[in-house]
Symmetry: D2
Subunit: 353 residues, 4 copies
């Protein structure tokens, strides 16, 4: 029936394995990527192969995590807004209590605010266990907002979300104040592997990164972002693992750093806004359960550990694809040649499937 539930079947492939170490997980794992763009698979695969050729692989360091929701209230005037903001800061313990009623996995870890005219934007920061936390923090924000409207004088309802959260919009606030999991990945590729596997040099990749990712994005009017195509890897990984893939909008605001270190390549991707979870919406679908399990993210662990593991795997996947594309773009014609070949090969594969 035309109105019934159907399925949009996105082609999916397991790529890798890639090697990860760091402060969250040490593992070798293949990664699932769902995409209409088949060249993405070998692109990530090449990066993964290189990670396997190095001793430590991709070192992924988690340096922060939180989920946020900003509410908006209107005050009688700026002075009242300011007084309200001060009260809120003083009552964080009380607010933390209220937010805990929503879920045993949520914990209020901070509150920031901003005042413009007589408007007060309050940005609540939470940890949310293994959930990405969109719904949990909205529920908590709703409870907190109700409480504030009843107990703080001179303010009235503005919006349950004031766009200062910020969800699924490219802004600066998420990077500066934090939202989602903030992960730095690093890979040192020996000179010979750069030559053999990537057909280029560390110096050329470093120079291209400055010119394309830093200068090019800057000239384009980018905001807090300098990379070639994080969005591609994030989309493919998010779809394959049941994430809310619209979070690639802010997730793709990350920064690639490449340096020539005596011929070896230091390559790093900072992905400050990874919004991922191992429970919640979409996680009960069969293929998602299967994929999360295979990634080792459905193991019995303290709350949050599975989600952190998933996040570093996502970040490592980003690095693999980014490294591969940048290397290709140092060589005139390579990208086009590869695309044409892959597309042709893919047609054949599809024909066989």
């Amino acid at each position: 029936m035309s109105n019934a539930h159907g399925i949009a079947g996105i082609p999916m492939k397991w790529v890798g394995p890639l090697k990860i170490s760091g402060n969250v997980a040490s593992t070798e794992t293949k990664v699932p990527i769902a995409t209409f763009e088949s060249p993405l698979w070998p692109s990530v695969g090449r990066g993964a192969k290189i990670s396997m050729l190095t001793e430590r692989g991709i070192v992924a360091t988690l340096i922060g995590e939180r989920m946020t929701r900003s509410v908006l209230v209107e005050a009688a005037d700026a002075q009242t807004a300011y007084a309200a903001a001060q009260q809120i800061q003083e009552r964080i313990g009380e607010l933390a209590e209220i937010s805990r009623t929503v879920s045993r996995f949520i914990e209020l870890i901070g509150v920031r605010h901003e005042i413009t005219a007589d408007l007060l934007f309050v940005r609540f920061e939470f940890t949310t266990g293994d959930a990405a936390g969109h719904n949990m923090v909205t529920l908590a924000a709703d409870a907190l907002l109700s409480h504030l409207l009843h107990t703080v004088p001179g303010i009235s309802y503005g919006s349950i979300s004031g766009n200062y959260c910020t969800d699924k919009k490219a802004t600066a606030v998420n990077g500066i104040l934090g939202r989602g999991k903030n992960i730095v990945t690093e890979l040192v590729v020996p000179r010979q592997i750069v030559a053999d596997q990537l057909h280029t040099t560390a110096a050329r990749i470093a120079q291209l990164n400055v010119r394309k990712n830093l200068l090019g994005t800057l000239l384009a009017g980018g905001i807090r972002s300098a990379n070639a195509h994080y969005a591609n890897m994030l989309l493919g990984f998010y779809l394959a693992t049941g994430q809310d893939a619209a979070n690639i909008v802010e997730g793709s605001q990350g920064i690639t750093v490449a340096e020539d270190r005596d011929g070896d390549l230091y390559f790093s991707c900072t992905v400050p806004n990874l919004i991922v979870g191992t429970v919640g919406n979409g996680k009960t679908l069969g293929f998602v359960e299967t994929n999360l399990t295979r990634l080792g993210c459905r193991t019995e662990r303290p709350p949050g550990d599975n989600a952190r593991r998933l996040a570093v795997i996502a970040a490592a996947t980003v690095l693999c694809g980014e490294l591969s594309l940048l290397a290709a773009q140092t060589n005139p014609g390579e990208l086009m040649h590869a695309h044409v070949q892959l597309e042709r090969g893919d047609q054949r594969t599809k024909g066989e499937a």
Copy 2:
């Protein structure tokens, strides 16, 4: 086999119908949305219903279309870069010839450049028929770059893409110079329908739009964007129609305008960077073909007409979801209430499915 092709099955539903008029299409059609977030369906559905209650429905005006790719060349110095840029402008006819060898559907319609230090970024603008055009413009840019490197003195290869295109990154250049289909949608909702269907007033929606979408996004450090959740609708629609959904990154940089016109609501969504096609990668999958056909976008028409039709349907879908969410957020608690109900209902539905 673990490495074989699999499928990520995203739940999909046809929502609507919605009513569209304007300079591209006049139609009433349901729209397919694939998402892990089930509340999105009734949200879009409510907006669609309202469009059906009005005489003209959603008026969608296409005001521009192009696909772009920027190449990067290094010059001997800034003066040489400048001379090269001038030459390129003078030789547009010749360059158009070369790009036509790539495809009979591609046409070079403009070239812009930017110089920083001794680097020259050249941004080629093309029309690409019914294809979104990613591959077509890369192929053309590759041919043009080769040609320029052979015929313009003093320049050498920098990159086939200089991030000034800009693909899948949130920047300002796409909005200012254009990339993808630029569409304005407008819907005038009579006062009574605002009250009955949206349980609010035009004045409250207009005020919320200023405070949340304009001021809130501004405070968050957004760039050329002011909306509540375009990314959600675009993702769902892109996945259901075989688009490269990573283009929601720039696609979601759009602007909502809401005005109270004597109690009636003027509601408009400008979506300047819609990257969609009806042919190309992903479009040969069964469900995609079915969906495009059902949307009337596989009809025999002049090249480009099917893609333009698809684009206005996408833009109208965005308006439906945006209107519904903004209206909900004018009412304290409504969003949470709806989510809880829907999620519960959805669980039941899923259990039944």
Copy 3:
């Protein structure tokens, strides 16, 4: 002698008086503005006159103050950078001690950091008494950086300033984390005064503000800014009071809000990054001393009070000029007419002078 000290004499005029109330000062005062653009004087003057016609005048609320400097260190890797950042947070008391050795007026009130790849940006926040504080915080940052380099393992010198401060650059970080004095000014103008003095209506000003300052700036690719010409008033006031006027770059990133409240006009200017002082560089020049004294900012008061007073006067001056220009732009031709008249009048005045 050609290399000797000379003087660039900028024409200066005292405008007003304007009326201020709020949490810092209640006063009526003229304000000095030095500018080559003579129409600025009557423009601010008109706003000032309106403030005098209202009961409370311009209500200026100070909602934050700090001066910042960010240092940059390179770490062995991201994990080391992260460990260093954690150490720094734990040792804030110790760091505050060190910064106090620089001046008895400086106090460390917070430290934020950001990590990208193996780079650690540390942003120190201080209060600096009555000084704007550029030199004081650089001196303190230098001492703190030396101390950290000697006591935190695995880090080395990157830069005394990492551009994450951010000084004299238009960015998002200053608004989000704070830098300088953050002041909201509000003025409620009764309907009749809007009509008589501004020859327009609250509704027209509110609409223009949304379309020009919010939407127009957004389309132009602005960052955290929505106003017509804060830069003009800040420049004139900064020059007249011995400030480092290059701080108008971030100072001019402010937000105008205008609302029609039953025919009365609610008009507000939020100026989050006012960098001003009453002591320090430039403040010993004769005309500066005279002007600061006349503004009541050289009175015997607790440290910081004079600077806060100066800041609210600066912010109120911004509001006066902003209100006047926006009102003028609601009327076709008024701006041009006024300019032509003023320029002609000014010529005559100059001729007479």
Copy 4:
């Protein structure tokens, strides 16, 4: 009398000489800088000295010039706005005629537009001879807007300025579409001079530039800007030459590129939005006339040539100060040491003066 004209006397010094070549001027000249911040003089002076030690000096390439004003009109709906925009493009010749009635020095060279909802922003681009052109383009825009309102159906007055110009606001549009004079300066400093004069290496300056100016500004949420302190040099130069110094807001959005070329330093400052003139407001003051004359910018030349000469001198001044500061920041403690010394020296000098 308290309301009479006074003077804000900003300390001014001639620094240099510096050496310039390129497509506008070949000259050696001292430059005047008016500032309250005395360390700026020796900072620029050091860069100037280095330029004198090289054969070509600072090569300044002018790659574009225009002055802009955007008007805002409201249309009946988006379709009407689109039709109006198309009409305007077709009638550029007619519009050029009208703009010429304003001044014999103004020439309309382009029109761009942007549509959001039912709003049409039209951005007129002009050349304005030797004037910076603020008033000239406002006068022309006023005439053009009147004409359009009378001849294009379905549109009404919005604003004489729609903030899409953009004047004195930090945005992306000016860099992408152009506003003011767009100048690239380049200086190649031999390895030995880097060592002797700057006490550092090309490699260290290049690395610092990537980390501080590119990465640091990016993390801070900057928009189209990557430099250490262009605002300082522009302010000092603008004040000394009678410019509207509020234009440092967009003028300071420029990009520093530094590269290590076999030990030599390639150093470049791109300053895309220099708004300067040799006639107009402020240019008739005595010290301004003297300074412009001494800079060789009051010579009998074709219209525009004097302003272009002034612009390249301004841009070269920017490079001198930028190079000096970046070099200093590669050495721990140097900046602080220099400041302390200079401030002390300056006190002495002031005492002597």
